[in-house]
């Protein structure tokens, strides 16, 4: 059982960490140093043995990979202890993570890859430095070849699925944590979610990356959150006007580029879709970044702050998205229907309770909207009936 080899490696490794953490300051520095290297060398012997006997099965790979990673951690930790290194945990984490990284390639260990991802994410969270925001992309890219190799080997393995989820989760957390350093946190994270969402829809040679489709879920949820904030708390997005929009500008250009390539790649397929589905695809994948782009152009170049009532536009956008998703959902998938209904109802709910419009205006708006719904419903039912009749004929 693979779980036993993982648990075994974990226990032995942690035991070694604890024994070393006892701090043998009564021993001489040289002896302590030797002590720090002993487990590491043992792990290396194990790996060489694995190579020699060609024991590449999951038990050996995961076991040695995990054990090796832990001995690396403990070796560096012990050096920190011997020399009383200051408690800057972040650098320790980065160094250890980078040392662990090759283990996923040489031991083919998914556990090592997960440790690496967790370590890098931890490093992201623990530094007060946001200049490394683009390092994340690079650090995460380093694992991707491994994931691809493993997918070719056996794409149905449980640990591999876990690794892919860990990858997405860590990437998501790392970015969101890092983005808090920006004044324009909300817009940045919205853009990021959108980036995830549209990247996940890219196809190469008609081959969808199966695991990338997972990204759509957090991406879309994040996108919705941002839209709600923009629609209901416009004061939170006003930071964009306070200068320093250049980083966002670059970011949004990248996103626009990707969403444009998405459009170019998949427009052929989209056109074959029913019209509502086509509109929905356009709305979520293309119109949102364009909206923000226009907003930024407006602020950066024309220097006109809020010459357009932006929150109104976001409100309309949300409403439109909700309606389109419901109609699309009625025609095809249940998920779209549910999400669309959720969007609309939460929109109504928030507008009803938190709006500053007068009661009269709100009342009239709601009645109008209600009538609109009833009419749409009536038309839809009629259409469905006709569709059913057509089918029967």
């Amino acid at each position: 059982m693979i779980i036993f080899s993982i648990l075994g490696a974990l226990l032995v490794g942690s035991g070694i960490i604890l024994i070393l953490a006892k701090n043998w300051s009564s021993l001489s520095v040289t002896l302590q140093t030797v002590l720090a290297f002993l487990p590491l060398i043992a792990a290396q012997v194990l790996v060489v043995y694995m190579y020699k006997k060609d024991k590449f099965n999951r038990r050996w790979e995961e076991g040695t990979g995990l054990f090796y990673s832990i001995t690396l951690l403990s070796c560096i930790a012990l050096i920190g202890q011997i020399y009383h290194l200051p408690g800057e945990f972040s650098n320790y984490l980065l160094l250890c993570s980078l040392m662990i990284l090759p283990l996923c390639y040489i031991c083919k260990s998914k556990m090592a890859a997960m440790l690496y991802l967790a370590g890098v994410t931890g490093w992201m969270g623990s530094t007060n430095d946001f200049s490394n925001i683009f390092h994340i992309v690079f650090l995460f890219l380093l694992v991707i070849p491994y994931i691809i190799i493993e997918n070719k080997r056996d794409s149905n393995e449980g640990l591999l699925h876990l690794l892919q989820w860990v990858f997405l989760f860590c990437l998501f957390i790392a970015w969101l944590v890092k983005l808090t350093f920006f004044d324009q946190y909300l817009i940045m994270s919205g853009l990021f979610c959108h980036l995830l969402f549209i990247t996940a829809q890219l196809k190469f040679k008609n081959q969808e990356f199966k695991w990338l489709t997972l990204v759509r879920i957090p991406g879309f949820i994040g996108l919705l959150v941002i839209l709600y904030v923009a629609a209901f708390a416009p004061e939170l997005t006003e930071d964009v006007t306070n200068g320093a929009g250049n980083k966002i500008f670059m970011f949004i250009l990248i996103i626009l580029f990707i969403s444009l390539s998405l459009l170019v790649i998949s427009i052929k397929e989209w056109i074959k879709l029913p019209r509502v589905a086509f509109v929905q695809n356009l709305l979520v994948s293309w119109i949102f970044p364009s909206l923000i782009f226009v907003l930024l152009i407006n602020i950066q170049l024309i220097k006109a702050s809020y010459s357009i009532p932006w929150f109104l536009i976001y409100n309309l956008y949300l409403l439109g998205l909700g309606i389109v998703m419901i109609i699309n959902g009625l025609q095809s998938s249940k998920t779209n229907l549910r999400v669309g209904i959720l969007i609309l109802f939460s929109w109504i709910f928030i507008r009803f309770f938190f709006s500053e419009l007068s009661f009269l205006t709100r009342g009239v708006l709601f009645i109008l909207m209600g009538i609109g719904f009833l009419v749409t419903n009536y038309l839809l039912i009629k259409k469905q009936d006709r569709g059913a009749n057509d089918g029967q004929d």
Binding site: K22, Y51, I82, G87
Partner: protein, 183 residues
Amino acid sequence: MMGRIKPKWVVLALVLLAHLTIPLILILNFQIVLGRGEDFKILARPIDPTDPFRGKYVALQLELEVPKWISVSASAETIWVRLEADIHGFASIIELTDYELKGPGVLKISHPNFRRDKLILPYDRYYMEEGIAYQAEIVAREFSDSTYVVLTVKDKIGLLSGLYLSGIRIEDYISLLEKNEEQ
């Protein structure tokens, strides 16, 4: 017969070697600092927490007063500090800049931490054997005016080389205490 060495073995060897050399380079650097560096004494107030990975240590709070004539914005990412020892060996800041300083006794500090007119040095922990660390905290309270660390500085790197109670290494002091109790 000499067979061709497979590339996977070369890669393996390189990784294994790197894993050994990186820690060794770290150690070598630290040994050079400790061996050839300059010593400064800094008053300390030790207390006793634990680090799950790296074990027992006493937390130190090392502060140095920043002279009034020096003005560097507190938001500087990295600062350079020149230390000078008085006749008793205790350190004081004579220069503090946000550009690189050269010469002996210079420390590079990233993300410096200022508290009022004092600079908190980043050397905040002194590792001790399990069981002793708490004792150290108690003993150090008795010597609150004469507890100090020795910071060895070379090439802008500083390393703690000892925690002293009025001139005696704390490890020695505690083992002396234990011997007295046995007798």
